[in-house]
Subunit: 339 residues, 2 copies
DNA sequence: TTGTAGGCGTTATCAC
DNA sequence: GTGATAACGCCTACAA
């Protein structure tokens, strides 16, 4: 693949490269005929400007980087839709990479994004990421970064998060109000702060109502259906089936439901369940799953707006954290306990 | 953000830029002390090599572009996982963009990928894409491109597709064998060739068994849950509920099931259903959905291998089409009709 | 209106 | 070992 350059065109047409260059950037004056001649010839020769060379001069790429841990669950795809909504109309391209929940991969993504000269970065940290020096450095250098959903307190960047604490509390209180007492929390990866927040919310609700909430009431499961399945199998084997379950997200809840049903437990009569995130699956599963609705697409939009501000601002604005609220969607899986 | 360059380092250290450059690329001979001095100073000054400048000289970026129509359904995310598996161990970065089922957007993605100098491109066409001149041109210029799943016959590139015709035929025959006669096909966007293939498979099966298969046996629905819902609502309203349904994919099937159940129809007793793609939801819905399993991750891996071949080959290999086979997963939604 | 020439940040090929 | 210097492809003062 031999690329045609403006030099080639200039040579063929016996004009200078400057003239050719000007013919393409119409802010300069070029005689109409020569311009047309050049454009015509360029097309004929199959010329395409080399964007790399251009980028060497200009300083922005109109590319935005997005790094997410995974997109098997629909959560991140939905956030990305919001991100795209904002950037597309501003003529930015959105480049997506996935870290696969792996810190090493995330670092590679990060470096690669910088190499490709994105103008800004939206990132949701991987499960493994305890601390990212590289990202910290980037932020220190005033590179525009906005964290969303999976954030780290150590990073001095703008953040968009969900009020996980509050809505975990509400979700748990909902079960309590429905008459359940022995409630268990199936949590996700413990080093994620949002998971910790949900745990805190769960504990707070239990304490507030004087219910037992020891170590055996919180079980680490995961965030995928299989995680919920495995954990529930284990709980059933060891005879630790509670009256109700608050799961850290819908897939985990659904995995648990699947196993419970398989073992003949009735939901919600034997075990009531509440999920988190209100995915499409919540409506499909039977009985339909009570869940906390999160404004996913909005999260993307807001994060995008924050980033845009940073990119266009003269002086770097000080970091802000925006906390989004949700909504409890009550369905059959958490119907009132029979007395 | 002022970038530090090798010039700055050279100036400060009173050496030439050449020496600084050499210190970083250790294939040249530099005195140990000077190298260490330079590296040390570089770190101190916060120097980062400018990859754009580098790319101007070298010719490849070690970036691979992937363009998909959407990733709300889990199909494409799973394919991407396969793609990543192959490229990561080869030290390529995978850049993902989504066209949002929109031809205009897809074109922007395409241009942007080229601008970012990806070494090769994996693409699944948007629903709207009838014909992409830009892509055609790219392929003509021997730019490495592999199409997967959503392909176009007009493009002379390598392709990885699923044997939609055959497995749609099998899925339909399965319903016929179970004793159903009045079978309807809920299809997807008609201008996608894979959708046409599934329609052909459905028709063939019906004809083969002497069953009626007129225009009213094939209804265009879509590929999302909502599409299945809307279509089923319409069918129920107009009193056109068949004995069995073969849906173009799982979400459509599940949407239809949801509405059928809401209206009191029993599955499979009143209406049997078969889906396509075997998504996670198929196991979760009740009754569990019979579906065609597709090797999604494998599709990604194979497409990636094909692309890698093209990228590394001296002379462009002639395009190949690889057709993947699937598997019928029988569950309750298609149990035998009662006589 | 057009041409000349310098520069963007890096690497590679000469010399010394 | 190291320093000039010419590329890479494009843009843009400045001159003409």
């Amino acid at each position: 693949m031999q690329y045609i350059t403006i030099k080639d065109i200039a040579r063929v047409l016996n004009v200078s490269v400057a003239t050719v260059s000007r013919a393409f950037n119409d802010k300069y004056d070029v005689k109409k005929e020569t311009r047309e001649l050049i454009l015509q010839k360029a097309r004929e020769m199959g010329y395409k400007p080399n964007p790399i060379a251009r980028k060497l001069l200009q300083k922005h790429s109109y590319n935005i980087g997005v790094i997410v841990p995974e997109f098997i669950n629909s959560f991140f795809p939905q956030v990305i839709i919001g991100i795209q909504q904002v950037f597309l109309e501003r003529n930015y391209q959105v480049i997506i990479m996935q870290s696969n929940e792996c810190a090493e991969m995330e670092l590679k993504n990060l470096i690669s994004m910088e190499n490709n000269m994105v103008d800004g970065l939206l990132i949701s940290l991987s499960r493994e990421t305890q601390h990212s020096e590289y990202l910290e450095q980037l932020i220190k250098e005033n590179f525009p970064v906005v964290l969303f959903n999976r954030v780290s307190e150590n990073l001095a960047a703008s953040k968009v998060v969900f009020n996980d604490y509050k809505w975990a509390l509400f979700a748990t209180e909902h079960l309590i109000e429905q008459g359940y007492r022995n409630i268990m929390h199936l949590s996700g990866p413990l080093n994620l702060s949002l998971i910790q927040d949900r745990i805190r919310g769960f504990k707070k609700a239990m304490e507030k109502h004087g219910l037992p909430c020891g170590a055996d009431h919180i079980v680490e499961a995961g965030i995928f259906i299989e995680d919920g399945e495995k954990t529930m199998e284990r709980l059933i084997e060891t005879g630790r089936v509670p009256e109700a379950i608050f799961a850290t997200n819908d897939p985990t809840a659904i995995g648990a439901m699947k196993v419970l049903k398989k073992h003949g437990f009735k939901i919600p009569q034997d075990v009531a369940i509440v999920g988190f995130s209100n995915t499409q699956m919540a409506e499909i599963v039977e009985p339909a799953l009570t869940s906390i609705e999160q404004p996913t697409t909005e999260m993307g939009r807001i994060a995008a707006e924050l980033l845009l501000e940073q990119i266009t601002a003269e002086t770097p604005p000080s970091p802000r954290t925006i906390t989004l609220e949700g909504k409890l969607i009550v369905r059959e899986s958490s119907e009132k306990a029979k007395k």
